[in-house]
Amino acid sequence: MKPSSDSLKTSDSPPPGSVSRRNFLKALGSTAVASAATQVKGVAEDLRKFNAEKIHGPGPASITLEINGEVKHFEVEPRVTLLDVLRNQTSLTGTKEVCDRATCGACTVLFDGTPVYSCMKLAIEAQGHQITTVEGLAKPGQMTAVQKAFVDCDGLQCGFCTPGFVLSVTALLRHNPTPTEEEVRKAVSGNLCRCGSYPRVIAAALEASGVKQTPRAEILTDVRLA
């Protein structure tokens, strides 16, 4: 789970199986040891429950995922990530693979409304949750206010990181419709862009929240050289 939405809040009362390395470290580092202890307890309970169930794999297992409101069935080995299933067993390739180890945010999806890195989630453990990819935000041929703001403010260049940024900003605005610039920066701090689109991503998020943005560059015409 990423720090971008209210991950601290969720770490106080983790749903089973939700502990990620990032959240775990974050809880240890910033909030309270108590919260970490809760998580450790959560993991232990989860493990017990998991071990009591049928052992899956190493061969393919039948799984059912709810993606963008549609229920889909897959045959996958338990070691296969949610990212891998999305990109390679569906046509939903808006979710991008870049680092495959929770450092860049290009594979961000909404997991019951919370942005998570799909490269850090096994497909088999994504069962029973609502998964939203960038394709699921608006109907085909349409855009959400956030998507439109990214286009209008040029919050993208090559666009490879863009679905991740769009989902992080979408999640932010759902629980904080009028964020400050600092809050936007925090919300997208789990997403990397190599083209350097950050200033325009911030502009896009603010525009989507209702604060009109204009290009920052000043154009000097009628240039006279000495």
Partner: protein
């Protein structure tokens, strides 16, 4: 004067990217997204030895892994590898997991050889040789003009300094890769590339297939920054796997592959001596330099796009100059062109020593530059930037900032040739009044597709929504690779020409005198049922070359932690006619931020024990993140009379120099090595010992450069024509 219209509706305005909606909704299909029926994964087995004789590779067990459809060798027979990551074999299979299992099952017999991954050590004559038939430090390039020794002897001011820059990785988010469908009728290639035609020609040549049987498509690609020209070994392997398996193969590199084998910005070690007269006019310049561009960087091959050479003296005209530059081979992946190859390292060294000179004279650094910069546009940029930045009010002598967290300011300049020619394009006007513009260029994220739509809309007098710009297909009229900031300057005139021709043709076909505006639909109906297809090509007078660019930086330096925070950058650039304000600003933001990463964070780290890249992913190779981004103020000099000039590369050049000068201005001592990490700041302040390879080893390497045989180069100034 150029032929571009003066009164414009779209040209020079802010037009959102025409492919923006596809990118924000996930509809855009990148190379790594294509899924041709029955496609297989491809993966590469790489050498785990930085140097070795490979005596045998056994693929049998890999072929037996369930799901594996093909396994091939890169080369038959015995061979030598020269870096950790060199390609040995490749497999194709029905899942990523099957390929991973198969790679583990390949048996390689190798006799390891001595190796070296540190260019400072490698420059010594007794270090292990990367190529057995020659020293790692071969011939050096030498150029000289005037009487250097006499000029130094008589100069009022002389300063000296030694600077170094790191190996930087391109790290485009989409890795290198291709999907190839090899059939007897056609080889269809989806490539993440900066040059669809160079991929086509490279593959056709290597596979022995006629060029007209190879089609390369690149609808969307996730960044290149100079590392994605030609098919690469990975493209060749994808094609051969597809041929062997009888199915399409998608072979995208992993991030680990990406750090090992497909390019980087070479390092540099620069010893600079600079002299000026009593008025601050530059008199003499001397440079000894070496750097590594990887295993292939020895000797005279060091120059050029991907080599370790760089322009010197940078941007200033110095009457007495002596330059000696060498490349040093190491057992590491080869360099490739990276966004303004040579220039960021050149700007960092030169602009650092310029500030040292200014300090010695007791002159404002901007004033010293204005007295010596031969380029009138850049002088104007200093003037404009100083005003915007508040330079005069903010400037204090180096080291004057009080307190623990010290503030400083600095500036630096850059120069880029650019220019471009040769592109062809065609315009198709349909009876319903819609338009397609087709051009065999590619959009790396720079907005070339949008640039085409903006120009076509302006010339044809249509709303951009009625125009479809199609790029990234070798079936379209040809255009060159997108490198050297040449795409805009090459494509824009061809689109202008095609659209101008199309207006005349439509006039003829329809009999309508003025086809633009309200008459457009009527004219299109009148021309009959066949669409009109009209070609155009690049011509003189609509684009040019030679851009400047200056950056101003304001930084905070924490003298207890060594942490540098860039607070603000003011960036003044010129690119002739500004075609699209919005995408132009984005490209400059991107250059500045990549330059900031170069200045403060980014560096490939090699392990001397194993020869492997230690930081191949983003938890250890630090890219600038949103938290690192300062306020960036951009000013563009719009000069339509110069025509279109590219902006991708100029924007990255002066960042590191300006930040380095701001740091030196803040703390009163200079951090001479990039990236300026906290340990180097604290070492410069004398608070911790220096940990780098400084000292005797570097001196020994420079001594080797001095002894190296020189190849005399023709003298030319490194200033815009």
């Amino acid at each position: 004067m150029s032929d571009w219209p003066k009164e414009t509706k779209y040209l020079g305005h802010a037009t959102p990217r025409v492919d923006g909606p596809a990118k924000v909704t996930g509809a855009a299909k990148y190379t790594s997204d294509v899924q041709p029926a029955g496609w297989l994964y491809g993966m590469i087995l790489r050498s785990k030895w930085p140097a070795a004789n490979i005596t045998a590779i056994n693929l049998e067990k890999a072929e037996a892994v369930p799901g594996i459809k093909a396994a091939i060798l890169v080369r038959e027979g015995q061979r030598q590898v020269r870096y950790y990551g060199e390609e040995l074999a490749a497999v194709a299979g029905t899942s990523k997991q099957a390929c991973l299992d198969a790679l583990r099952a390949i048996e390689v017999t190798a006799a390891p050889l001595p190796f070296i991954v540190d260019e400072v050590e490698s420059a010594k004559p007794d270090s292990p040789r990367v190529f057995e038939n020659g020293p790692n430090l071969g011939e050096a390039r030498v150029k000289e003009q005037g009487n250097v020794d006499a000029a130094f002897a008589s100069a009022a001011y002389v300063v000296e300094g030694a600077f170094s820059t790191q190996v930087q990785l391109h790290n485009a988010l989409e890795t290198h890769g291709t999907t190839v469908s090899f059939t007897p009728d056609e080889v269809t290639v989806w490539a993440s590339t900066q040059g669809i035609f160079s991929v086509r020609d490279g593959l056709a040549g290597n596979l022995g297939v006629p060029q007209n049987m190879v089609r390369v498509v690149c609808d969307f690609m996730g960044g290149g920054f100079g590392a994605k020209f030609g098919p690469g070994v990975e493209g060749m392997l994808a094609a051969k796997l597809s041929q062997a398996a009888g199915a399409p193969v998608k072979l995208m590199l992993t991030r680990f592959d990406e750090a090992l084998a497909v390019g980087n910005r070479p390092s540099s070690h620069q010893k600079i001596k600079l002299a000026a007269d009593a008025d601050g006019k530059l008199l003499a310049y001397e440079l000894d330099a070496f750097g590594t561009a990887g295993f292939a960087s020895g000797g005279s091959s060091a120059g050029g796009g991907g080599g370790a050479g760089f322009p010197a003296p940078y941007i200033y005209k110095v009457p007495n100059t002596r330059v000696k530059q060498a490349g040093v081979a190491i057992n590491a992946g080869s360099a490739r062109a990276m966004r303004a190859p040579g220039h960021p390292q050149a700007s960092f060294g030169m602009e650092s020593i310029m500030d040292e000179l200014a300090a010695k004279i007791g002159m404002d650094p901007v004033e010293l530059r204005l007295r010596n910069d031969p380029f009138d546009i850049r002088r104007k940029e200093y003037e404009v930037g100083c005003e915007k930045f508040g330079w005069k009010e903010k400037y204090q002598k180096p080291g004057s900032s009080a307190g623990i967290v010290k503030t400083g300011i600095g500036c630096a300049g850059g120069s880029w040739g650019g220019g471009g020619r040769g592109t062809q394009a065609e315009v198709q006007i349909n009876p319903d009044g819609t338009v397609e513009v087709r051009c065999g260029t590619q959009d790396l994220g720079t907005g070339s597709r949008t640039l085409i739509a903006v120009i076509a809309a302006e010339i044809l007098g249509l709303d951009p929504s009625r125009i479809t710009a199609r790029v990234g297909d070798t079936r379209f009229p040809p255009s060159g690779g997108s490198g050297g900031s040449s795409t805009s300057a090459s494509v824009s005139p061809a689109v202008f020409d095609a659209c101008s021709n199309a207006l005349l043709e439509l006039q003829k076909a329809s009999g309508v005198e003025d086809v633009r505006g309200a008459n457009w639909n009527y004219a299109c109906q009148k021309m009959g049922i066949n669409p009109l297809v009209v070609p155009g090509k690049w011509r003189e007078g609509l684009s040019s070359s030679g851009a400047g660019g200056v950056h101003f930086a304001e930084v905070d330096v924490d003298t207890e932690t060594g942490f540098i925070k860039v607070k603000r950058m003011v960036c003044v650039h010129d690119c002739g006619l500004v075609v699209n304000k919005l995408t132009c600003e984005s490209q400059i933001n991107g250059g500045v931020i990549m330059g900031l990463g170069y200045a403060l964070y980014e560096q490939r780290v090699m392990d001397r024990q194993t020869g492997v890249v230690l930081n191949p992913n983003f938890e250890t190779y630090k890219l600038p993140n949103v938290a690192d981004i300062p306020q960036i103020d951009i000013i563009l000099l719009d000069m339509p009379e110069r025509g279109v000039i590219g902006i991708g590369e100029p924007s990255v050049i002066p960042s590191a120099g300006s930040i380095a000068n701001a740091v030196a201005n803040a703390i009163g001592v200079r951090v001479t090595s990039l990236p300026m990490t906290p340990d180097k700041v604290l070492a410069a302040l004398g608070k911790v010992p220096a940990t780098s390879t400084a000292g005797n080893s570097v001196e020994a390497a420079f001594a080797a450069v001095e002894r190296a045989p020189g190849i005399e180069m023709e003298y030319r100034d490194e200033v815009p024509a």
